[in-house]
Assembly symmetry: C2
Homo-oligomer: 207 residues x 2
Amino acid sequence: MDIFEVMGTCRAIRQLKPDPVPPELIDRLLWAATRAPSPGNSQGWDFVVVDDADARARIGAAVREAMVERVAAMPRPDRTTRLMLDGTGRLVATLDQAPVLIFVTGGVVYPPQAPKEAFTWSALYPAAQSIILAARALGLGSVFTTLHHVADATIREVLGIPDHIRIAATIPIGWPDGVQFGPVNRRPVADFVHHNHWEGDKRGSGA
Amino acid sequence: MDIFEVMGTCRAIRQLKPDPVPPELIDRLLWAATRAPSPGNSQGWDFVVVDDADARARIGAAVREAMVERVAAMPRPDRTTRLMLDGTGRLVATLDQAPVLIFVTGGVVYPPQAPKEAFTWSALYPAAQSIILAARALGLGSVFTTLHHVADATIREVLGIPDHIRIAATIPIGWPDGVQFGPVNRRPVADFVHHNHWEGDKRGSGA
């Protein structure tokens, strides 16, 4: 599938069927992830692939407990935000129904000549992005989340992830359930571009 | 171009021709970048696109001064590492010859319910990864770097990037000069995958 079409239609799919996903498709996602660049080609990522029902149930319960009321209380000033947050609400309420959860994790493996955090994330998030794009190319729904932050202790306990390993992304994977891929909703590109010199706050966001 | 072919052959291209790159191709890279996900669709990224020769010369000189000797002194235990570091050496010595530099930057725009750093990077690095992939699809060379860390003060001064804006990636863009796209060099995928539970240090890296 053409890469620009993939990127342009890579909507977050927050409603997933519980049907299993063939392991060979998950393998393709991980192959894609590991084609990403990393500092000095250090490849310091570890992917925890969770399809065990009990593990998903325990993680899902922790996320549900932490997030359902919080998401319900978030303001919904416009239709776009409402649709997104309604989707997020369903996602956090039913995370354990996603047939596969991929946790993108890793340690700091490159000599820290720069802030360690940046070096960790500069390897892990490109890999996570490639998972999202590859999933969309295969027709699999996914959503790029950092939901692990709200259930860190439970996730580490259930999955045995050591404390020194950072978790970058939590990505539910499954077949889309009643939702479709389509053009993503973004501001005009010009709102983000500075030509040769910083042009000030381009979006009135205080940035 | 097929997304899996793009990912599989997205080599870092560290030797770039000085020939200008049509602005409409740069625009396609930025379009691709801004299709990436971000927390709550906050889109908190700012791209500084630098093709001005003087700006590139000043930034290139700062990177050269900080990095040429350091890269020359790095150990090259095997052929793969030698080729990569030789390429990095050429890159840091000639960064100003790349016709375009894209700085992927952004502020923290999402309410910090989690570590701020993670939220910044979780938006910026996926966008940076999409730039790399889109460039490869267009036949443009690029290399994902964090070279700004070694010349932060100069880059901020030359480009006017405010202190509260984080710089995530420095991406030289241009046509490949005597180097070709081809399969990327990676460990076997199994070295990175844990099934339902952390399986220990899979690569003898202490991770």
